[in-house]
Symmetry: C2
Subunit: 128 residues, 2 copies
DNA sequence: AATGCTATTAATAATGATTATCGATACTGA
DNA sequence: TCAGTATCGATAATCATTATTAATAGCATT
């Protein structure tokens, strides 16, 4: 039985309250304002539970920290190659991508991962 | 000045000789047949050099081991969600995906990552 | 052939994000 | 109330990868 603990609820609230896509330890810092005694392990454990119950999405990345998103609507992301920040792509018509799943004999292809990469406004300002 | 050491040459040869997409430690095991004294650090270091010189491609994945590919032609991959193995998608016409890079004011989007996921023949056989 | 210079090596320690462990605590339902 | 279990905070362990380091090897110049 999955209880709705204070930690879990606050974590979800804080993630839902932001349009950024925070990492586990960014969330840890945020949540500590409301729950000063929460531990980082608890953050990771609850994020994982929330991902598995389908309440949030995990945007992971090799060699870096995973980021989390409470926006469950279909949308794509851009990741900044310099600072790692993730932004939502506006879903304004133009980007209605229809990617057909390839069919290969005896290989069950079930889904795909698509993510854009580039340089965010903040980082290109710094590079001037 | 970048030397062509025995280790670097053998590593590249072995990677070019396979159609699988081995991890660093799989390559380590393979290369050890020819160079028994090579160390895993050397494998990682040289793979990184080869990636940066554009001789091979790195197919990384959050929470797992990266895999490497010496096939530089444009092609897509499927990753098995169970065993982590990567296969090439046959580039037979049907899958000529044209993914336009989205345009967002002040965000320089330069490329995308696209990878398919599913269950490979070996793993779906085991699941029967 | 000897010298100096730098790239590379093998071995090993360190890193960093995440996960596991564990004893204590807090719910929950009979 | 009490047993059973989910969760907690604290901390140790994991695992892939990267950094460090002392030793070696290869090239260029004498």
């Amino acid at each position: 039985m999955q209880r709705i603990t204070e930690q879990r609820r606050v974590l979800l609230e804080e993630l839902q309250a932001t349009k950024r896509h925070p990492t586990a330890d960014e969330l840890y810092e945020t949540v500590r304002c409301r729950l000063p005694n929460i531990s980082l392990g608890t953050v990771y454990r609850n994020l994982d539970l929330l991902v598995r119950s389908g309440s949030i999405r995990k945007l992971d990345k090799a060699g870096g920290q995973a980021r989390y998103d409470a926006d469950l609507s279909e949308h794509l992301h851009v990741r900044c190659l310099h600072c790692g920040a993730i932004a939502d792509l506006p879903d304004d018509g133009a980007l209605k991508l229809e990617i057909p799943l390839p069919v290969i004999p005896s290989y069950a292809i079930t889904r795909y991962r698509l993510e854009f990469e580039g340089t965010c406004p903040g980082c290109s300002a710094g590079t001037t």
